[in-house]
């Protein structure tokens, strides 16, 4: 079953400031609970966060961690055959530099999951993207469903702007 949830995050910049992070200027893999954590100690990131960081680096997509000690934030690993992806924050500066950057990232992730799930079937993938719009608003889209549905997210985000 496919589930897509689109939300506006009006207080995200304030929340980032509260957690000691700067306003985002580059693509960043962020903790999944970044918009709801009460403090930095509560932050958790998906185990696959590091996979996506490496994937972006290998494909020359500029990205930067929001926290200096991102590697110290606890990882969550769900021991399941489903793929639990991270949360990707895409600031407006990255979209201006390359309007297709969201689609490119989703394509890379989809290809990676296809490779990782070779020889299996029926698994689902989940992923969150927080994207800054041209008017400075942050919108989050959370996806949970078949891997092939991931590619639709870029279009859904575009239409939501």
């Amino acid at each position: 079953m496919k589930g897509i949830e689109v939300k506006i995050l009006p207080g995200l910049l304030v929340q980032l400031h509260r957690l000691g992070a700067p306003a985002p200027t580059e693509i960043s893999i962020v903790p999944g609970n970044i918009s709801s954590a009460n403090n930095k100690q509560e932050l958790t990131q998906s185990s696959e966060s590091d996979t996506i960081r490496t994937l972006l680096t290998q494909n020359l997509i500029a990205h930067k961690d929001l926290f200096d000690d991102e590697g110290e934030i606890e990882y969550i690993q769900n021991y399941s055959d489903d793929w639990f992806g991270p949360c990707i924050l895409i600031p407006i500066a990255a979209t201006i530099q390359n309007p297709n950057v969201t689609s490119i990232i989703l394509g890379l992730i989809t290809n990676y999951i296809y490779d990782a799930f070779k020889g299996s079937k029926g698994q689902s993938a989940s992923l969150s993207i927080i994207k800054e719009t041209a008017n400075g608003e942050f919108r989050s889209i959370s996806y949970n469903g078949p891997v092939e549905g991931l590619s639709e997210l870029a279009e859904i985000l575009k239409n939501a702007e």
Binding site: D50, T54, D81, G119
Partner: protein
């Protein structure tokens, strides 16, 4: 190289003829041993490929190890079922699926392993009762790469990909448990409800055999809600376990 590949393929194809409950168990065990020699031999050739700086060949030999391991496990599954050992047979079935999945990941030449995996899945539906699977969720403070032993965030390897005849995996460090969930698609189908408590004893979920409780066992309403669960399995490559250990 072609000669070697043909030889390996021929051995695997011959052994596949023994993946049936109709075959003689002794002949099936012999096929398992022949394939174990193949796995050993492929391991040696993998080392040679690494010495010759040929990563593609190293991954190909890894693929042969996985594919042969899968057939070994499928044969052992049938042998164990004939031995009236459904739980052990189930583990071999899962090991066979893991071997096929790994073969697919190891090298392009094993793409067809996906079809074999689907065939095995239909066997699961035919011969094994429906299982209840569990999945563990945990938190880890560190993630280490199994290939280079560096922080997984700092290295260039990607989980599940083969590198020089070895799969990259994440080694979690400083773990704390988070939750246990019932799931439809567990990462490891060995993680399942193994038995349930009944008033008359503990019932095995596969064989339905009821084992009476030990003398003095107090059975209250709460214990009747309890089940024995295999929540975790450490053996990442069960299809490489020797037949002597699995069947004897």
């Amino acid at each position: 190289m072609k000669e070697l590949i043909d030889k390996y393929n021929s051995l695997i194809k011959t052994a596949e003829k023994y993946t049936s409950p109709a075959r003689d168990s002794q002949l099936q065990k012999e096929q398992c041993l022949i394939l174990e020699s193949l796995v050993h031999n492929a391991g040696l050739n993998k080392q040679k490929a690494i010495e010759f700086q040929d990563e593609d060949a190293a991954n190909l030999f890894l693929g042969f190890q996985c594919a042969a391991g899968a057939v070994i496990c499928e044969i052992r599954m049938w042998v164990l079922l004939k031995m009236n050992k459904p739980n052990e047979a189930w583990d071999q079935y899962i090991a066979a699926r893991m071997g096929l999945r790994d073969a697919c990941r190891a090298h392009e030449g094993f793409k067809h392993s996906g079809e074999n995996s689907m065939r095995l899945e239909s066997i699961e539906q035919l011969i094994f009762p429906k299982q209840i699977f569990v999945s563990v969720g945990f938190k880890a403070k560190k993630q280490i790469c199994s290939i280079c032993n560096l922080k997984y965030s700092a290295c260039e390897h990607l989980r599940h990909k083969p590198y020089w005849g070895e799969f990259c995996d994440i080694i979690h460090k400083e773990i704390t448990g988070d939750h246990l969930a019932l799931v439809e698609f567990p990462a490891d189908k060995r993680c399942r409800v193994v038995s349930v408590n009944l008033p008359e004893g503990r019932q095995d979920k596969l064989s339905l055999i009821v084992e009476p409780y030990e003398a003095g066992h107090v059975l209250d309403d709460e214990s009747l809600l309890m089940a024995e669960v295999t929540a975790w399995s450490n053996d990442r490559y069960p299809y490489l376990r020797p037949t002597k250990i699995v069947l004897d």
